[in-house]
Amino acid sequence: MSPAAATTSRHAHTGDRAFAVGLTLLGGSVLFVVGVIVLVCARLSAPAFAKLGFFHFLAGTDWNPVEDSFGALPFVYGTLVTSAVAIVLAMPVAIGLALFLTEMSPARVRHVVSFFVEILAAIPSVVFGLWGLLVLVPILRDVVEPALGRWFGFVPLFSGAPLGIGFLPAGIVLAIMILPTIASVTIEVLRTMPAALREGALALGATRWEAIRAVVLPYARRGILGAVILGLGRALGETMAVTMLIGNQPEIHGSLFAAGYSLPAVIANEFAEASGAIHTGALAGLALVLFGVTLMLSAAARLLVRLSARRAVTT
């Protein structure tokens, strides 16, 4: 090795090392920020947990700022129900949209539709909330909910007075909001698929539907689940649109027509004017609970991906 080459390589080593340290710091900063958030929430919520008891707080259903009695359950319930409605409605549409755009539509159509999907993602949530309140709620109240009640009223999910405001409109608007997230990530996943796989299936005589079902979807399963997790994350944390539509009533009802409350909504509503350390602490406690719910759901989704991947290999 010539001396000149040795210097440059040593030089490159120092550069590499600095680069590695820099990236580690950047990566670590995410953990640091998350750690600080958890720490601050834990410190703020300490007085509330001390007074109410952690498990009593988690399982409690009463939320009464006047008497300093706080329970998280109705908010956890509302967050889960609205997110579930959103996923159930958005997932088939988003995946269908992505399949149509990547597998079937001509390029021109794809560009136009992709553009509108991106526009949908850029609309501020308060606009979604207003649209929900002024357009969706009257339609639900006067048309959709009475019809659902007439035909499916025996199912507890569709029982009760049609108010228009409640879990259902919040879930529907959330579905529209997370649709572009799921669709655009799914499109990217499908685009990365080697064309040879699809062509091979077609060459073997598979119809388009068979190729999608037997080759495209199994190949993209992990990526699509990842897209759904991203969408779910947005649904769990959405504040403004949900608080405008859910009715803000901390109650647990089996019916989608009833009013409820969600974790981010109550924090946004009450934090600014919270009276006293217990009330503020209970709200910080809800932030921790929201953190925990998000963490558990994404862990569960990861587990699901791993299990489904193993099954895909064995079959």
Partner: protein, 342 residues
């Protein structure tokens, strides 16, 4: 070298001008009077170009917190400070600036609705569920009410409006006092929660059969139908600037102005009214700022009152203004009253 000296000179000149030019006074607190206060600050700035007021409408709770910690020069709150809060912030005085009231608004029943205190409490309690309930229909002079369900709409965010409204309900209904109580956020027996005045307005406008409460200014600007309430003298009164000011005249005002004027006496008084306050420290640490605040408040309770009406705030009645003048004289810089020294 010469250029450097020039630059230094220019910088020093600029700094000197900036300091002489703007005396910046910081305040924070209630959102309710924010439109009026911004109008006041901009008008006052035209008269005194050297004094700039910066106001952050972060909510009454934040206003009390910040004046207690002395991070602002003045605070603002819709609700008077409690004894416990005042103990943590000794020497803070309440200066009432204007009055506001809470209108009961509804949708789906004919105009001209009349409500007695008991009926209003029953509706928000959820014990009266239909508009044509006999108790509601039996009020003398009531228009014919339809057979539709009542949907109660309340504020979901912590707010001074809710505090005033629940304070009134607790005064007129012992059942409300024991089961719900008074606060900026309470446990509502039922109904829907709307975020902010605009959220309640939206829900009331879009839900037939609904009833809710919003600030008077908001109800007027959005042309919502308002109910007349029976006051302590047995008269049915619509919320208005005059009936709100009348409420302040019907209650003995203590020297520290910390008083609830809901359910006030007087035949013209609207029963759900309240003062909104600016909070300042009696002993001002900074001479220039202290004098400027004193001068501004003096202007606000005199000339400033004329700007209140057009923005749907109720001006202070004359006897109250006289009392506030006395309170302003107790604000001092280095032991000397800021008002007398002007």
């Amino acid at each position: 070298m010469k250029r450097l000296a020039w630059m230094a000179a220019t910088l020093m000149f600029c700094a000197g001008v900036a300091r002489a030019d703007a005396l910046l006074i910081n305040g924070a607190g209630a959102t309710f009077p924010f439109p009026l206060y911004s109008k006041w600050f901009s008008e006052y700035n035209k008269l005194h170009p050297n004094e700039r007021f910066n106001y952050q409408s972060i909510g009454s709770g934040g206003g009390v917190k910040q004046i207690t910690e002395k991070t602002v020069d003045f605070g603002a709150s819709d609700a008077p400070m409690t004894d416990a809060e005042l103990a943590r912030a000794p020497g803070v005085v309440h200066i009432p600036t204007v009055l506001g009231s809470v209108a009961v608004v509804y949708n789906g029943a004919p105009a001209g609705l009349k409500l007695t205190p008991e009926v209003l409490a029953d509706i928000f309690h959820g014990t009266i569920t239909h508009w044509n309930d006999p108790k509601l229909q039996a009020i003398p002079g009531q228009p014919k009410l339809p057979d539709i369900a009542i949907t109660v709409v309340h504020r979901s965010d912590g707010s001074g409006t809710t505090a005033v409204f629940t304070d009134y309900l607790a005064k007129v209904s012992p059942a409300w006092k024991t089961s719900v109580g008074v606060g900026k956020a309470v446990k509502w027996p039922g109904g829907l929660g709307g975020k902010g005045n605009e959220g309640v307005t939206g829900s009331v406008k879009s839900t037939p059969g609904s009833i809710g409460y919003v600030e008077l200014a908001y109800a007027r600007q959005n042309a919502l139908t308002m109910a007349a309430l029976e006051n302590a003298d047995g008269k049915f009164v619509l919320p208005s600037i005059e009936s709100t000011s009348a409420a302040a005249a019907g209650v003995p005002i203590p020297a520290d102005f910390r008083v609830s004027i809901t359910n006030a006496k007087g035949k013209d008084a609207y029963p759900i009214s309240a003062f909104t306050y600016i909070l300042v420290h009696k002993a001002q640490p900074d001479a220039a700022k202290g004098k400027a605040i004193g001068r501004f408040l003096w202007w606000a309770i005199h000339d400033g009152q004329k700007l209140a009406g057009p923005l749907d705030y109720a001006p202070l009645p004359k006897p109250v203004v006289t009392k506030v003048e006395a309170a302003l004289r107790t604000i001092t810089v280095g032991g000397k009253s800021v008002i007398a020294s002007n």
